[in-house]
Amino acid sequence: MRKIFTAAAVAALCLGVSAGVQAKTLKMAYDADPVSLDPHEQLSGGTLQLSHMNFDPLVRWTKDLGFEPRLAESWERIDEKTMRFKLRKGVKFHSGNDLTSLDIVWTFDRLKKSPDFKGLFAPFESMRVVDPLTVDLVTAEPYPLVLHQATYIFAMDSNFYTGFDSKGKSKAAIVKHGDAFAATNVSGTGPYIITSREQGVKVTFKRFEGYWDKKSPGNVTDIIMTPIKEGPTRVAALLSGDVDFIAPVPPTDMDRIEKNANTNLVTMGGTRIITFQLNQNRIKQFKDKRVRQAIVHAINNDGIVQKIMKGFATAAAQQGPKGYAGFVSELSPRYDLKKAKELMKEAGLEGGFSVTMMAPNNRYVNDAKIAEAVASMLSKINIKVDLRTMPKAQYWPEFDKRAADIMMIGWHSDTEDSANFSEFLTMTPSEETGYGQYNSGNYSNAKIDELILKSQSMTDPVERSKVLQNVETILYDEAAFVPLHWQNLAWAARKGVNIESVVNVMNFPYLGDLVID
């Protein structure tokens, strides 16, 4: 027995040494570090970024917004409400347990209980075990976004998370505030294991030796992740060589990173739309379509992109960006001051009126400056704007109260699908249905509601796309809201750290596949 151990130890040592020869360490800095190690505690970019390091989803997004197999090797629709996933064989968790369909179902059931995720998983009725490596995902109605949502199913090690911790609490509990086993302990199937974590200071990762994806080109064995909150400091850390990879990159520093001989900048059109909503309940003039159109025509959003965003954004005229199901390429920004004035005259409001406006000043890139620019643009059509900007912590309660006539809201679709924008931003607000939760403008159009509800159960992508395009066109014609731009994304790295192939528009870099020369 002892001999076997020794042999194993020697073998492990040899493995360790051979891996050590080409050991690559990645030092990286994000603006914040993950709130929790529990993938179901908070639905946020940070959580998803971490999940892709510690865990693997059933399927994941490719660069061109398609899907590629991860833990699910293949999938097929067996009837209009059921999708069958075949799991990969021989996948091990960090704890050494084997991945089976029981883990996937356990994870799914936990997602349904998470306050943050259960909304996303509401269309799903259940998940069933078929055999140890096959599961059926069943929806209540025919549902087009099954694979979209499967990107959120990061398999958790059900044995590891079952039972009670030293304080006698369930290991599976999702706790928003307070101590929880799952918030500080991890066992996933992902490429990296956390070796140490000092919250707000440093997290270190080591590559999981038993990682199933042997085909992955990734050669990073260790990752040291440090949060650096201040943009200029983050950039300085990269330029001085203290870190190899940073995100996000402040727009003002992009030039200098691009020109630097030792660093690379990667940018990409983003998916978060920045908009203003015109509250029709507070200002009766906003009920008039011509006034809303006048406002959209008066705002030079292309100018805002060029001058304020320094070109680091894409001017928008609709909710979803290019690549999304509802995108209509003909819809373009329509700045035209003359037409705006005419529209105001038609509406009999040449003399204008006064409104209040609110915007956050630390939530979106240049949010306060954008609001100031919009306010001054509106003064050209005699709409006098009383603008207040405030930190996001104070802004959200104001937004919930609908405290101003014009409010700024940015939105990223958690499903990476067009319908999600309307569900939250432009459908009729109602506590009963839960739709229009962020529709501070109170824009309400029965046609839009009907089309979106219809799209939710359309499984033919081409037909569905037509319906969603129709939605975007109606919103455009109606000037239901004021579209500004989609924020771009940017990452920067030292030369030789090939981030280009692992970053994506969802902003969760697949660091397991990262190659360092």
Binding site: G200, P227, P232, S240, D242, D400, D414
Partner: protein, 327 residues
């Protein structure tokens, strides 16, 4: 006896001050924003958020919440940080050594430069070097600390590559104090943040020492010393310098508090994992228990240093009377 009376009086005052601070801190928390927003994703419904708020007791009337807080506070429990999920005091205590390190580093720099420079400017006010120091200190006093910090990062880390650009570096345990003072890496990391923090106080102390000393050099007893034919060294450093220190100590003690305030800026630029940075982050995240705990801890530091300075002052200058002391 007088000291004891003074100490008890001070203690009672401190308790009152702490109570008022906690009440103010607690009553402004509603204006800091909604902590739930930072705890949940954007698509979580208002109903769900209300349910969470109920469970966390955030919907209770103010005085019930405050009573609950006070009840726990007297037992030394200031609540759990939402973000760190640990007792707020524990979180602050864990970050305190880093801040202390920075304050000590800055103090060392201030003492080792401000003293000689200040004295030199007083003794040789007309020399070009003294004029240079005075000119430079004007700049120092008017440049905001975050600008000094960013510039020093760009010059010494990015361009010259001499210094690390952020963070605290390696730390080691010595006699129960886990600090960067005991490793080379830790010391190197301390240089730029300490200089930045010192830069804001240094000019003040140079000017203070200079003007105090110049005033004292005009005094009768100094003239007498000159007349006696003492060595200049003796006059300057023994007779004049000793009396210069008196006001410097008082101001120094009060400035400890100001220094703590400046650590917030310095730490956030250098990503220094101390209390100040923690506080700024807590404000951004609406981590109210942590914010209140920080306010209380800093309040306590103020009260303690001021008491200490008062005691020290009476000890150095016996003509000063403690409050309530019989004359």
């Amino acid at each position: 006896m007088d000291y004891l009376y003074f100490a008890i009086r001070r203690l009672l005052q401190a308790v009152l001050v702490m109570f008022v601070i906690s009440l103010i801190g607690f009553s402004i928390q509603d204006n800091l924003g909604d902590p739930l927003r930072e705890l949940v994703g954007q698509s979580v419904s208002e109903k769900e958020r209300q349910a969470l708020r109920d469970r966390m007791g955030l919907n209770d009337p103010f005085f019930i919440q405050y009573g609950r807080f006070l009840g726990k506070a007297v037992q030394g429990d200031l609540g759990n940080s939402y973000f760190f999920k640990k007792p707020a005091l524990e979180v602050i205590a864990a970050k305190f050594p880093a801040t202390l390190e920075l304050v000590i580093g800055a103090t060392i720099i201030i003492i080792s430069f401000a003293l000689p420079f200040g004295v030199y400017c007083a003794i040789r006010p007309k020399s070009w070097f003294a004029k240079f120091i005075m000119g430079f200190s004007i700049i120092g006093i008017s440049v905001p600390v975050f600008l000094t910090a960013i510039f020093s990062i760009y010059i010494f880390s990015v361009e010259l590559g001499w210094m690390p650009s952020f963070g605290r570096g390696e730390t080691r345990d010595l006699l129960g104090w886990n600090s960067g003072f005991f490793t080379q890496d830790g010391l190197v990391h301390l240089v730029l943040p300490s200089i930045s923090l010192a830069s804001i106080m240094m000019p003040l102390f140079i000017r203070l020492i200079r003007s105090e000393m110049m005033e004292i050099l005009q005094m009768e007893y100094i003239r007498f010393a000159w007349a006696k034919g003492l060595l200049p060294r003796r006059v300057w450093f023994l007779h004049a310098f000793k009396n210069t220190l008196l006001p410097v100590i008082t101001v120094g003690g009060v400035q400890v508090g100001t220094m703590l305030a400046y650590t917030i800026l310095t730490e956030s630029v250098f990503q220094w994992p101390g209390m100040g940075f923690l506080f700024l982050e807590a404000v951004n995240r609406v981590d109210t228990p942590l914010i209140i705990a920080y306010i209380i801890v800093v309040g306590l530091i103020f009260v303690v240093t001021n008491t200490f300075v008062d005691l020290l002052y009476t000890w150095v200058n016996p003509t000063v009377k403690l409050v309530g002391q019989k004359s």
